[in-house]
C-alpha cells in the first residue's frame, strides 16, 4: 500500500474504487476547498452548496468504480466537477419546485483590478479581450456551457433564465467571439 499523500487524483479514485477510506479522505482534503469555492461562486446559498458537496462526494465514494477517466485521458478532478455541476443543477431544480425563490446567484460582476495584469498572459490575448468585451449575460452563459460543461437546459436552471434565452445568448456569444478571434 503506497502512501495516499503522494498519489495523483486518478490513483486516489482508483483506490477509492477498491474501498480505501484513506484515499477518500485524502481526495476530500485535496479537492474540497476548491470545489466549495467554485460552487459558492455559482450559488450563494451555503446550505445548497453543503448539500451538493455532500452528494457529490457520496457519489464519488459509491461510483468510483465507474470512473473510466484515467484510461481515456480524463482527469479525476474534472470528473468530480462534472458530478458536482450536475448535482448543483439538480438541487436548484428541486428548490425551484419546492419554493418560488430562484437561488441561482449571479457571479459577482468583474471590476477590473490592478493585479490582474499578471494574468494577462494566461489567456491568449485575443481570447481574453474577446471574453472581457462580452456582456456579463453572455459571459455567464458561455461560462456555464464551456467551462462548467453544462447543457442548455442545465444552464437555464443554473442561471434562472428560460432555455430559449440561453440559446440566444450562447449564439450571440459565439458570434461575438468568432468576430473577435478572426
Amino acid at each position: 500500500m503506497g502512501a495516499v499523500t503522494s498519489m495523483d487524483e486518478e490513483n486516489l479514485v482508483r483506490r477509492i474504487a477498491d474501498g480505501d477510506r484513506g484515499a477518500f479522505d485524502e481526495l476530500y482534503r485535496r479537492t474540497s476547498p476548491w470545489l466549495a469555492v467554485r460552487l459558492r461562486r455559482r450559488c450563494a446559498d451555503v446550505e445548497i452548496v453543503a448539500e451538493v458537496m455532500q452528494e457529490t462526494y457520496l457519489a464519488v465514494w459509491r461510483a468510483a468504480a465507474a470512473f473510466a477517466g484515467a484510461s481515456v485521458g480524463g482527469s479525476a478532478v474534472g470528473w468530480v466537477w462534472t458530478i458536482a455541476a450536475r448535482r448543483l443543477v439538480d438541487a436548484l431544480r428541486r428548490r425551484a419546485r419546492e419554493a418560488q425563490l430562484p437561488l441561482a446567484a449571479l457571479p459577482a460582476l468583474a471590476a477590473p483590478a490592478a493585479e490582474d495584469e499578471v494574468l494577462d498572459a494566461v489567456l491568449g490575448d485575443a481570447m481574453g479581450t474577446a471574453l472581457r468585451r462580452l456582456s456579463p449575460d453572455l459571459r455567464q452563459v458561455l461560462q456555464a456551457m464551456v467551462l462548467d460543461g453544462l447543457t442548455v437546459r442545465e444552464t437555464a436552471v443554473l442561471l434562472g433564465v428560460p432555455e430559449g434565452t440561453v440559446k440566444t445568448r450562447a449564439r450571440r456569444a459565439r458570434i461575438a467571439l468568432r468576430e473577435a478571434l478572426s
Partner: protein, 290 residues
C-alpha cells in the same frame, strides 16, 4: 452552441494554463470576492481544474481567509463520515474489459435462453429412451445461435447502436467479431448437448454455420433481427415440425447432404462480403416495414 465550438473553446483554454495563479488572485478567488476580471477568472477556474499545486494553495488560502467555507467543509466532512460508513457501494466489475469488447450488448439473457432451450432438448432426448423421435438437439442445433446472432447488430436491442454504427470499426468486421463471441459459447454447448444426446457434430456443425452466415447475409437486406427471426421460423415450420410429426430425421441433416451445406456456406460467404456496406450505415426500417 455547437459542440465543435465548445471543444475548440476548451482547447483554447487548456494550453494557456501553464502559468500558476498568483497568491493575491487566489485569495480573492477563495473569498468569493469580486475584482477578478472576467477573462482572468475564467483562466483561473480552468487552471485550477488541471493544476494540483494551485488547488493545494487554494486550500491554504481558504483556510486563511474564509472561515465560512472552512466551517462548511467541516460540516460536510462530518456528515460524510457517517454517510460513507453506511452507504452501499457500487460494484461495476461487470465483465473484464477484454470480454466486454467482444460481446454484443444484451448477450447474456439471450445466451441463457439458448442454453435453456438446448438443455430442454437434451432432457427430451434422454427421456425418449425408445428413440421414437429424431434427436431434438440435432433438429434445434442449426438455429441455436440465431437468438444470440439476432442481437449482434440491432438498433432495437442496443441503445448505443447509432454510436456503434458511427464508430470507425463499424461494419462487417464488428458484426463477425460479435457473432464469433456468440458462437464461442453456443458451439461448445451444442457439442456437449450433442454428445449427451448422441448427435454427432459432423451432422449439425455445417448447417449451424450456414444458418449463422445466412442470417448475417439476409440481415444485410432486411435487418439482422428480422433475418434471424425469419430463418428460425422457416426452419421450425419447414423442418422441425414435420420431422417431429413424422418421427424421422430429416434428409437435410443426414451426412449425405453435407456437401450441399458446404456449397451453401460458400455462396453465403460471397454474398456476405459483396454487400458488406450494409453494416456500415443506419437502417431506419426494413424494406417491407417502412
Amino acid at each position: 452552441m455547437k459542440i465543435a465550438t465548445l471543444i475548440r473553446l476548451r482547447r483554447r483554454i487548456r494550453p494557456a494554463t501553464s502559468d500558476h495563479v498568483t497568491a493575491a488572485v487566489l485569495e480573492r478567488y477563495a473569498t468569493g470576492g469580486a475584482g477578478i476580471r472576467a477573462d482572468a477568472l475564467w483562466a483561473v477556474e480552468a487552471h485550477l481544474e488541471w493544476c494540483a499545486s494551485c488547488r493545494e494553495r487554494l486550500g491554504e488560502a481558504v483556510a486563511r481567509r474564509s472561515p465560512e467555507t472552512m466551517s462548511l467543509l467541516a460540516l460536510v466532512q462530518a456528515k460524510l463520515a457517517t454517510e460513507v460508513a453506511r452507504s452501499p457501494r457500487m460494484r461495476v466489475r461487470r465483465l473484464p474489459r477484454r470480454v466486454s469488447r467482444w460481446t454484443p450488448p444484451g448477450l447474456w439473457p439471450r445466451l441463457a435462453m439458448t442454453l435453456l432451450v438446448l438443455a430442454a432438448a437434451v432432457g427430451l432426448d434422454l427421456a425418449d429412451n425408445s428413440r421414437l423421435l429424431p434427436s431434438l438437439v440435432l433438429l434445434v442445433a442449426p438455429v441455436a445461435p440465431l437468438l444470440g446472432v439476432a442481437g449482434v447488430w440491432s438498433a432495437g436491442i442496443d441503445p448505443a447502436h447509432e454510436l456503434v454504427v458511427a464508430s470507425p470499426r463499424a461494419g462487417l468486421y464488428m458484426v463477425l467479431r460479435r457473432t464469433l463471441a456468440v458462437l464461442v459459447v453456443v458451439i461448445p454447448t451444442l457439442a456437449v448437448a450433442g454428445w449427451l444426446a448422441g448427435a454427432s457434430p459432423a451432422r449439425w456443425l455445417l448447417p449451424c454455420l450456414a444458418f449463422t452466415g445466412g442470417a448475417l447475409a439476409l440481415g444485410e437486406l432486411i435487418g439482422l433481427r428480422w433475418a434471424a427471426g425469419a430463418l428460425a421460423l422457416a426452419w421450425t415450420a419447414g423442418v422441425i415440425t414435420p420431422s417431429v410429426l413424422a418421427a424421422r430425421t430429416p434428409l437435410l441433416l443426414e451426412p449425405a447432404s453435407l456437401p450441399y451445406w458446404a456449397g451453401l456456406i460458400a455462396v453465403i460467404a460471397v454474398a456476405l462480403v459483396l454487400r458488406r456496406d450494409a453494416y456500415t450505415g443506419l437502417r431506419s426500417e426494413t424494406w417491407f416495414v417502412r
